[in-house]
Structures are given as structure tokens and as C-alpha cells.
């Protein structure tokens, strides 16, 4: 808590910043008059969904605009200097030494041809006026404080030789090497798995506290920002909708949009009675070459039920979905539909079997053919499975669009003319067109914003009520599991480590992995990370 009468000096002040980006015809404003101030030792969180302009503002703080972007108005002052008034050469001298940046994907942001140490000390040695040996010593000290393994020799490695979580910490070290006054963190943990994310968050937070610089922390996840920031600015379509201390934002958000940032958390479908099984998976194993993707998987999905399969990347959950859809053969085991065993591959299944199982993909951008109209996308399965043509087909297309709460007028459009959420609704309608009994949903909401996610999840629950369809819901997001699952399977490294009803899996006692996973999911509370650390250290002692 900062209660000194004298407030620390202002490090960064942005006034009425407006930035435009080049679009097909002309320019579109993507940052619309943002103001912010940041004092020494303060951490300001920038929260917003994709396209809110967070990264653009973060980069503008370094006086940097991506190709195809331009500033039209406003100023960025760094201490006493007007950054945007400087020439590019002058701005460059600030970067790396006084203002530093930590990017989202460390794996892509490190040069693969150079050793980590060479990259980390580069700015310090060439422009920070530091002796190479001194810089290296300082880097090792930073590695230590960021809890990197073998800090003495860590810098001798090449980027591809260390893990993603370690690289992200190495990039934090690179940002801090010259002791800059301002560090911009741009979604530093978004590309990581939840369990790795916790370690990285802890290290970054410790380093920030020791360092005392002003920090701009950008994330789409308010729960994460809540652990790192003192103050939060919520952005939407390039405008600040709300700015307040973190506790105030969480406890009493003044803008409805802010509250919608945790829309999925407020969703919960009622529990349903268990009915006889629709799909049974017995003793399934699968492999990619010598890599075992799935081992001895057993479970069943009841009629009108939602089964959530949860796990981190590489746990085999998507492979499971592809296997059930007949896109990949198992090494052993059987899949039964209504008690009858299914042939393993698509081409061996008859049309009725194919009709009964449908799949929806994570990204509707790639799941809908960009050269087909919505009419053709929805009409083809109608013709293929039900031999509908002409007016009957057209009528059904309109019904399907209404079913997924889209305007029937969209039938003539192409996917590129719809928003991301609308496209995913079309993908759902395409699955429904087949009149399926089971829909495999592979991370179908993870590319979408919270509010859109909540809308789609609610709609799926309603459709289940009306149509009696079952869902196999593959996800990495425990909030979604909490919201809609009847039963849950937890997977890790190709095996099922826990399964049962939603209530059984999500409440104690937990197996080890489920506990780790549940603990790692950031909660919507500013002191979640502190509590977790206390809990862990007391468990060790």
C-alpha cells in the first residue's frame, strides 16, 4: 500500500493517444483516445479481449508502432521526454536500456541462431555502457532470482534447448538487465500451460517487486492481472471503459462490460439424471508412430449428457475426439454406439453412423470453407445425409440458422463476413444439420472472448434440452467444466487420471494431478497467488 504523502515520480504518461491501422480500404482507428499515467514502483494492468488495442498501447509506450499502424494524435511521455516527438534513432536509444518489453511468445522472440546470454546482455553491452563480464554477472543474478535452473550455465544454451516456461523467464531477465524504469509485459504467460504458468507468474512477480520499476502488465485474463497489478484499466475496442484499483474492479465493477469479463464463471447448468449410455469407449490405445498418445482409455457418455474431457496440451484429449470421429485408428480397443461396436475409420462406417457423430473444431476460421456461402456449408450435410434439396433444404437452412440464434439473412454470406462467434455458431449449425446423437466439441470456445463463450455455452445447453443430443466437450478450461459438464474426465499424458460426476471430480478428495490442475487455475481474487504460495509452503514444511 502506498500511503506516503509524497507520491513517487511519474514514469509514463499517455494522453489522448489515437492509433490507426491499415485495413483493406483506408485506415481504421484501433486506439481511440487513451489516457494513462504510471508512477515509479507501480504495476498497471491493461485488460481487454482480442482486438481491444492492448498490445498496440503497450508498444506505443516504447514509441514503437507495428508496420501498418500510425499515430494520429496524442502524446507518450516517458519521464520528462516526449517519446513521440523524438526521431526514430533517439527513440531507439531508450529501448532496451530505459524501457523494456517482454513478448507473449518467448519461443519465437528469441533468435534461434544465438546463445541466450548473447541476446540477454546485448543491449547492456552495446548501448548500456556495461562491461560484458559485469553484464553477465548481473544476468546470472537475475536467472537466480527468477528461479531458473543452473543459473551459472543457463545462458550458454540456445533457445531451442530450454523449455517454454524457462524462456519466458529468460526474456524477463533480458528486459531487466539494464534496470529500466519501465517494463511492458505483453501476455507473458498466455502461451504456457496452466501448471507452468503459476511458476512463471511467481518468478515474474518476485522480480518486479525486487526491481521496483514501473510495469505495464497486459493480459486478456483479469484473474491473472489481479495477481500482478495494483491498478487495472479495462479496454474495449480501443477505449478505456473503466480504471480503478484492482479490489474495486473485482468487488464493485462500475461498467457492465467489466463484469462480463468473467461471464463464463457465472454460468452453471443444472445437474441432469443419468440415463443409459450412448457411447462406450473400451480399452482404447492410440499412437503416432512410436509416441503413445492414448493408453487404456475407458469411459462412457450417457444420452442427453455432457461429458467434459479436461487436460493440458499434449494430454491426448484431442486425439481421443478424432479417434471417436473415425479420423484416426486405435491401436487396440473398441468404441460402441448404442451397444454396437463402431468400425474404426470413417470410410468403413455407414452413412447413418457418420450422421450420428459430428465434430466441431476449435477454430471456426479454418473449419468453414472460405469459398462457400453459409447456405452451401449448411446445405451440404442436409443433402448428404437427408437427401434434402430445393425449397425443403432452404427452409431447413433457415431453421438451423434460427436454432443457433443467427439472422436467416446470413445464408447468402461468406464466413469472412461474419464475426468469430457467429462463425462458430455456423459450425454448430452444420453439426446440427446432420441430426446427430453425439457432438464432439474440440475446444470450441477457446478462441473466443468470454462473453461470446458464455453465449455459446448457454445456447449449447438449451439445444441439448430441446434436441436430446450428447456432447463430448474437450477443453483445457476448468471454468467451462464447472459451467456445463455432467461428468468429467481428467487426462494427463494419454491416460485418464480421474473421472466421475462434476461434483465428484471438482470437490475433495482429489488425486494429485487433479489437485495440481485445480490449484493452478487463477481465481478471480487478488490474493489467490499469495494463498496458493502459503498453502504450498506449509505443505512442504
Amino acid at each position: 500500500m502506498k500511503s506516503e504523502p509524497q507520491s513517487p515520480p511519474i514514469v509514463l504518461s499517455v494522453t489522448d493517444l489515437r492509433i490507426e491501422a491499415k485495413a483493406n480500404d483506408g485506415w481504421i482507428e484501433i486506439v481511440k483516445g487513451v489516457n494513462l499515467t504510471l508512477r515509479r514502483g507501480e504495476v498497471l494492468g491493461l485488460v481487454g479481449e482480442s482486438g481491444a488495442g492492448k498490445s498496440t498501447i503497450g508498444l506505443a509506450a516504447l514509441g514503437y508502432f507495428r508496420p501498418g499502424c500510425r499515430r494520429t494524435r496524442g502524446s507518450v511521455r516517458f519521464g520528462e521526454t516526449d517519446v513521440l516527438g523524438l526521431t526514430e534513432a533517439k527513440r531507439r536509444t531508450l529501448r532496451g536500456t530505459q524501457v523494456a518489453y517482454v513478448a507473449q511468445s518467448a519461443a519465437a522472440s528469441f533468435n534461434p541462431a544465438k546463445r541466450l546470454m548473447d541476446q540477454i546482455v546485448e543491449a547492456a553491452v552495446t548501448r548500456g555502457g556495461m562491461q560484458r563480464a559485469v553484464a553477465e554477472q548481473r544476468a546470472v543474478a537475475l536467472f537466480r532470482s527468477l528461479q531458473l535452473p543452473n543459473p551459472e550455465i543457463f545462458g550458454k544454451r540456445y533457445p531451442h534447448q530450454v523449455s517454454g516456461g524457462q524462456l519466458q523467464r529468460a526474456m524477463t531477465a533480458m528486459a531487466m538487465i539494464c534496470q529500466p524504469d519501465l517494463i511492458v509485459f505483453d501476455e507473458p504467460t498466455t502461451a504456457l500451460d496452466v501448471t507452468t504458468q503459476v511458476e512463471v507468474l511467481v518468478s515474474i512477480r518476485r522480480a518486479i517487486k525486487e526491481h521496483g520499476a514501473a510495469v505495464l502488465y497486459i493480459s486478456h485474463d483479469l484473474a491473472i492481472v489481479a495477481q500482478m497489478a495494483d491498478r487495472v484499466m479495462v479496454l474495449r475496442y480501443g477505449e478505456a471503459v473503466e480504471e480503478a484499483p484492482i479490489r474495486q474492479i473485482m468487488e464493485a465493477p462500475s461498467h457492465p462490460y467489466t463484469k462480463s469479463l468473467w461471464a463464463v464463471r457465472s454460468l452453471q447448468t443444472p445437474a441432469k439424471p443419468e440415463l443409459e449410455p450412448l457411447l462406450e469407449v473400451e480399452g482404447i490405445s492410440a499412437a503416432y508412430g512410436r509416441f503413445k498418445a492414448l493408453e487404456d482409455i475407458d469411459f462412457s457418455i450417457g444420452k442427453r449428457q455432457t461429458l467434459a474431457v479436461v487436460g493440458e496440451s499434449g494430454s491426448g484429449k484431442s486425439t481421443l475426439g478424432r479417434l471417436i470421429a473415425g479420423l484416426m485408428p486405435p491401436v487396440k480397443g473398441t468404441v460402441k454406439l448404442d451397444g454396437k461396436s463402431l468400425p474404426t475409420l470413417v470410410r468403413q462406417r455407414d452413412k447413418d453412423m457418420l450422421r450420428r457423430i459430428q465434430i466441431i473444431y476449435q477454430s471456426a476460421d479454418t473449419a468453414l470453407n472460405p469459398r462457400h456461402t453459409i447456405r452451401k456449408i449448411l446445405g451440404r450435410p442436409l443433402t448428404f445425409f437427408q437427401s434434402l434439396r430445393g425449397a425443403a433444404r432452404e427452409q431447413r437452412v433457415i431453421e438451423l440458422l434460427k436454432m443457433v440464434e443467427l439472422d436467416p439473412g446470413y445464408a447468402g454470406r461468406y464466413p469472412a463476413q461474419l464475426s468469430g462467434g457467429q462463425r462458430q455458431r455456423v459450425a454448430i449449425a452444420r453439426a446440427l444439420a446432420a441430426n446427430p446423437d453425439l457432438i464432439i466439441c474440440d475446444e470450441i470456445t477457446s478462441a473466443l472472448d468470454q462473453l461470446v463463450q458464455a453465449g455459446i455455452l448457454q445456447m449449447l445447453a438449451d439445444l441439448q434440452q430441446r434436441l436430446g443430443v450428447s456432447y463430448l466437450f474437450i477443453t483445457h478450461d476448468l471454468e467451462i467444466v464447472r459451467a456445463i459438464a455432467d461428468r468429467v474426465i481428467v487426462m494427463s499424458q494419454g491416460r485418464i487420471v480421474d473421472q466421475g460426476s462434476r461434483a465428484e471430480v471438482l470437490s475433495p478428495p482429489y488425486p494429485d494431478y487433479t489437485k495440481l490442475l485445480l490449484d493452478s487455475v487463477p481465481e478471480m481474487a487478488p490474493d489467490w497467488l499469495d494463498r496458493l504460495l502459503t498453502k504450498r509452503s506449509s505443505a512442504v514444511n
Binding site: N24, L354, A367, N369, R371, R380, Q417
Partner: protein
């Protein structure tokens, strides 16, 4: 709260018909592309209407002396056999462009078909075709062409077939690579999961998405084929006399260069101008198809 109340409505692209789209695209085209289009247009007119435009017949000997100088009767003089040079150039447009066009079309048919098949079927089919293409491409084109011409002889048909087959290897690679990118996308897998056959997947899912790439590649490949034919004719192993062809016209009249006469450079410039024009257009199409793939 419904989604539509909070999210922005999608950018409603104006629905234009084909003609309007083309006019719109032309308005935004750079000067180089427009210049290229004009050049290509002139050549096409010359090629199609050659018999009406040309002052004399293609093989007609109009002068007793070879290499007659420029005059009113023979604007660009005559060639080594006393045939009107200008006439030969106009007919040359017809022969050179026509043959190169047919060859490129054939190359695209062969390479495109096998490339898409290889990407759609994968497995051993892909392996066999890809290795075969690797083997053919490890011999430089011109050398391989010369080898085959030595064996089969230089008839027009042989020339077309040999160059089309050899050039189809590159089109195979282009279409296989772009089809591969499409095949791995979820919408193709979705159609597989639905149980669609190979024909549907190729014609409805893959082809419409790689067609823009193939069309924009056409110009580049046409230029290449055109230059190879011109070079072969120049070397005396391509199109054979008495057919009017720009490459062989350069060769037959090259001696004039030594006396400082630029006439032999005219057919050479005709070749150069056309390829520059086509390349300008192709460059524009390529950048359009790679940059703004969703615009149409």
C-alpha cells in the same frame, strides 16, 4: 445478454458482381500492372488478327535481295530470304504466343492434376510422384529439354509435349504445396469426417481455395515457357523454318548486328516487352492473391 448486442456487426463487405469487382480491382491496380495489361492486350490483338494486320503473307518472298534495308514497301526491311520483316514479326506473335500458351495450359493440366492428387491422397502416391519430380528437377530444364529434343527431334508437337511435361514438375510442386496447406485445414477434415468422397473434397473443398494461387502463377510460368521456346528457337533447335518465330528471327539476322543495324533486336525486344508486361501483371496478381485472399 445476447452476443449481437455487444459485439460489433461484421464488416459488411459490399456485394459486387464480377464486372464491378474487376473494375474496382483495376482502379486500384498500380501503374506497372496497367501498363502490363495494355502491352498484353496489344500482343493478343496482333496474334489473333495477324492475317489482317500483316502487309504480306507469312512465307511470301517480297524482295530479290536478302537483308533489304528499311523502306516504304518493307517498313523494317526484309530478312535473309527476302521476306518482309514486319510481316514475320506479326506472324511471330501468333506462333510464339500461341504455342507458349498451349504448352503452359498443358503443363498446368498435368502438374495441377497430379499435384492435387498427391496432396489429397498422400501416402505412397504422394511419395512416388514427389520423388519422380525431384529426379526430373535435379537436371536443369534447358539441358533436359535439349537431351529430349536430340532424341525425339524438334517438331512443334514434340516441343510442346517436352516443355509441358518438364514444366509441369514446377506446377506439381506449387499445386501440391498449396493443396497441402488446404488439406490440413479443418474444413477438409470436416468433409472427410462427414464421409464425402475424393471427388467432392477435391472439386468443392480444395480446388476453389487454390485456384487463385494457380491463376496468378500462370503468368510467371507462361513467361518462363515463352522464354524457353524463344531460346531454343534462337539456338536453332526449337520451332523450325519456315515458321515465323522471334527467337529464330534473331538468330537468322544476327549478322546485321556487326554492322550496327538494330533490326535483329526488334524481335528480341518484342519478346522482352511481352515478358516484362506479363511479369508486371503477374507480380500484381501474386501480391493480390497472397495479401488479400479474402477480398473477393
Amino acid at each position: 445478454m445476447s452476443e449481437s448486442s455487444l459485439s460489433a456487426s461484421p464488416a459488411s463487405a459490399p456485394d459486387r458482381n464480377m464486372v464491378q469487382q474487376i473494375i474496382h480491382a483495376l482502379r486500384q491496380a498500380p501503374v506497372t500492372a496497367l501498363t502490363g495489361l495494355v502491352i498484353v492486350g496489344i500482343y493478343v490483338v496482333a496474334a489473333v488478327f495477324a492475317p489482317w494486320i500483316a502487309p504480306y503473307g507469312e512465307y511470301e518472298v517480297v524482295s530479290d535481295i536478302p537483308f533489304a534495308p528499311w523502306s516504304e514497301a518493307n517498313l523494317l526491311g526484309t530478312d535473309q530470304l527476302g521476306r518482309d520483316f514486319l510481316t514475320r514479326i506479326i506472324y511471330g506473335a501468333r506462333n510464339s504466343i500461341g504455342i507458349a500458351f498451349v504448352t503452359t495450359l498443358l503443363a498446368f493440366a498435368i502438374g495441377g492434376f497430379f499435384g492435387i492428387m498427391a496432396a489429397a491422397l498422400r501416402g505412397w502416391v504422394d511419395q512416388v510422384f514427389s520423388r519422380l519430380v525431384d529426379a526430373v528437377m535435379s537436371i536443369p530444364d534447358l539441358i533436359f529439354t535439349l537431351l529430349l529434343l536430340a532424341i525425339f527431334g524438334s517438331s512443334v508437337l514434340n516441343l510442346i509435349l517436352i516443355i509441358a511435361v518438364l514444366d509441369s514438375t514446377r506446377i506439381f510442386r506449387i499445386s501440391r504445396a498449396s493443396a497441402m496447406n488446404v488439406v490440413t485445414l479443418d474444413y477438409v477434415e470436416a468433409s472427410t469426417a462427414r464421409g464425402e468422397g475424393l471427388y467432392w473434397r477435391i472439386v468443392h473443398e480444395i480446388l476453389p481455395n487454390i485456384l487463385p494461387i494457380l491463376i496468378s502463377e500462370f503468368g510467371m510460368r507462361f513467361c518462363f515457357v515463352f522464354l524457353v521456346i524463344a531460346a531454343l528457337s534462337f539456338l536453332g533447335v526449337g520451332l523450325q523454318p519456315p515458321m515465323a518465330e522471334w527467337g529464330s528471327m534473331v538468330r537468322d539476322n544476327a549478322v546485321l548486328i556487326n554492322s550496327g543495324d538494330i533490326t535483329p533486336l526488334i524481335p528480341a525486344s518484342a519478346i522482352a516487352l511481352l515478358t516484362v508486361g506479363v511479369n508486371f501483371v503477374a507480380d500484381w496478381l501474386l501480391s493480390k492473391s497472397s495479401g488479400l485472399s479474402n477480398e473477393e
